[in-house]
């Protein structure tokens, strides 16, 4: 009997291995038409001649992906355990810091989950194996992001209000309809628009403006878990940025007819994304007890410097111009956070976070960061709000606000150059009137009115009786709000608990 001789195993190089385990798993279709197998890549008008031109510079395989991510997750969960055991929440800068994390938890993980689902869709329905595989990796990333964010913040839920029903809230509460409608808009578009909306505009153009403030805010304010989550997500983000950039370049290189379509998507999604992260502006300048940098500085560095003066110079080669409403955003950098926080302040009785008049230290910082605009807001609204407090009251808006049909934010943004006059834009479509907050949102509405007439505007839904009942207490119950979740920070349950924990620490020590 002869023993079969085993051939020595030839080791594949990394590149060959990647190719064998990803691209080589693709096959030419023999008994179905390509258009039947991939039915969603033509209707948007994007012309693709050669899918093999899609470059994936990362060359990950599922095996290496799993190994690497498991290691990162292990490190994150070790930090979370250590933080819980050492009662890390007590060394935060202040209980009011949690307000930023409440907005993060209520708004972001469901967005990550939406991103997971839509990239999974792309991982099946893009024609090219390289593009599909990159989408698969991002889909898995986004699911991990949702999970790790929830776990990261779950420890805080034991000690602070507003975090118990984040999932229900992200579906129902008025300010959370802003991120929800953003992802609904992107997810109901075709795959190429999704790539420009999320892959490029959100993950590339605006990602630093979204993540850096949260993560450095966490670092500055003693929030080790969120900081560690941020580091763990960072290496994924660089892959996402690459996918977004590869996506836009691929479309532009495949056919010059693609340029006007891509430009219009870029114009739309810059403005959608920019309006969405205005919530981050309010948070950065008003909700962090220890500030990192102002919204204005962040906008100048991460957007004007890195994107307008960097990226768009490169994209000009393809004929791409900066987004159509970019000048509006630039002039708004001086006032955006003031306006957003003033919105949040007067409606926080219906929110799952608290707000307060900036204290003396905060005001000194604001005066330095915004020497021209802070004095206006201080004298016109904050001194008056403080006076109401001093007299034993607390100003909350007694009504419901007019909302923008597109971004769904209360219409508190103002005309360029006139910070005291709210911007009112209107369109008539099929005899009905629709309101928008800016030229950007108006343009988006009029480009696709059929899409935005369906907007689930929280205020209108309340008036139609779809949110638990006619009164604010009814709506609060339907939102899942509990006593202590919203309203004024001074005297709130979070603040009182915080003071009690620290008083007992001092006594014992």
């Amino acid at each position: 009997m002869s023993v079969p001789t085993q051939k020595p195993v030839r080791k594949l190089s990394m590149k060959q291995r990647y190719s064998a385990l990803t691209h080589d798993l693709d096959w030419p279709l023999s008994y179905v038409e390509e258009d039947d197998a991939f039915p969603y890549t033509k209707f948007e008008g994007i012309k693709v001649h050669d899918w093999s031109k899609w470059e994936d510079p990362f060359r990950l395989t599922v095996e290496s992906y799993n190994k690497y991510q498991a290691e990162k997750d292990r490190r994150l969960y070790a930090v979370l355990d250590g933080f819980a055991q050492s009662q890390g929440q007590l060394s935060l800068s202040d209980a009011s810091y949690m307000n930023a994390m409440k907005i993060f938890l209520q708004g972001i993980p469901s967005g990550e989950y939406q991103a997971h689902r839509n990239f999974a869709h792309l991982a099946r329905y893009l024609n090219g194996p390289g593009a599909r595989f990159a989408s698969l990796c991002q889909s898995m990333d986004e699911l991990r992001h949702a999970q790790t964010e929830i776990h990261t913040l779950s420890h805080y839920n034991k000690f602070f209000g507003g975090m118990h029903d984040w999932n229900k809230m992200s579906d129902r509460v008025w300010y959370l309809s802003v991120p929800k409608s953003f992802f609904d808009d992107a997810g109901t578009a075709g795959p190429f628009e999704w790539l420009i909306a999320i892959g490029f505009s959100f993950e590339y153009l605006l990602t630093n403006l979204l993540f850096v403030p949260f993560m450095s805010g966490a670092a500055f304010n003693g929030d080790l878990p969120t900081m560690t989550f941020g580091f763990s997500a960072q290496s994924d983000e660089s892959r996402h940025m690459t996918l977004g950039l590869e996506g836009i370049k691929f479309m532009l290189e495949q056919d010059e007819d693609n340029l006007p379509i891509v430009q219009a998507w870029l114009d739309k999604w810059f403005w959608r994304g920019y309006r969405l992260i205005s919530l981050v502006a309010g948070m950065m300048d008003y909700m962090l007890p220890k500030r990192v940098m102002s919204w204005k500085e962040a906008f100048e560095l991460y957007f004007e410097e890195q994107m307008l003066n960097g990226l768009f110079k490169d994209l000009a080669y393809y004929g791409i111009k900066p987004p159509r409403d970019v000048e509006w955003a630039i002039q708004e950098k001086e006032i955006l956070s003031h306006q957003v926080y003033w919105i949040l302040y007067q409606f926080s009785h219906a929110a799952a976070f608290t707000t307060t008049v900036p204290n003396a230290q905060d005001q000194a910082w604001l005066a330095e960061a915004y020497p021209e605009t802070w004095p206006i807001y201080k004298s016109v609204v904050w001194d008056k709000a403080q006076k109401v407090m001093d007299e034993g009251g607390r100003y909350f808006n007694p009504g419901l606000p007019q909302l923008c049909q597109v971004c769904q934010i209360p219409m508190g943004f103002t005309e360029p150059g006139d910070p005291m006059t709210q911007c009112q834009r209107h369109s008539i479509y099929e005899g009905e009137r629709y309101d928008t907050c800016s030229d950007g949102c108006k343009w988006i509405f009029e480009r696709e009115p059929e899409k935005y007439v369906q907007a689930w505007l929280p205020v209108h839904q309340i008036y139609q009786g779809n949110c638990g009942g006619p009164t604010l207490p009814d709506v609060a119950v339907w939102y899942g709000l509990e006593p202590g979740d919203g309203g004024e920070y001074v005297g709130s349950m979070d603040q009182l608990d915080w003071a009690a924990w620290h008083a007992s620490t001092v006594k014992e020590g």
Partner: protein, 107 residues
């Protein structure tokens, strides 16, 4: 421009007037007063007399400690960008207020 879609894309407005029965939504904007960060959105009967509507506003705006209710008796009303002098006994509808109209004033 129609929505580029895989099939016919046509849906009714989620806030069309018929969803409010005999009522309609009305936006009220105190222009130039940032104390109210955005215009208010209200649901009122179309048949509500203009005078009653102003009465509601006189209560609503007391949330601004500097507000003088009688000041609303002498403001210039603007409905959907048209300066108007409403008839207090006529209905809001008869005075030109439609669904999601913008009623504005400044003091």
């Amino acid at each position: 421009m129609p929505v580029v879609a895989i099939s016919e894309y046509k849906f009714p407005s989620k806030s069309r007037q018929e969803l409010y029965g005999d009522d309609q939504l009305v936006h009220v904007w105190w222009k130039g007063n940032p104390w109210f960060v955005a215009a208010g959105c209200f649901r009122f009967p179309k048949a509500m007399p203009w005078g009653d509507f102003v009465g509601v506003l006189k209560g609503f705006y007391t949330a601004d400690p500097d507000f003088v209710p009688d000041s609303l008796d002498s403001v210039q009303w603007v409905i959907d960008d048209q300066e108007v002098t409403p008839d207090p006994s006529a209905s809001m509808e008869a005075n030109g207020v439609g669904h999601k109209s913008l009623v504005q004033f400044s003091v």
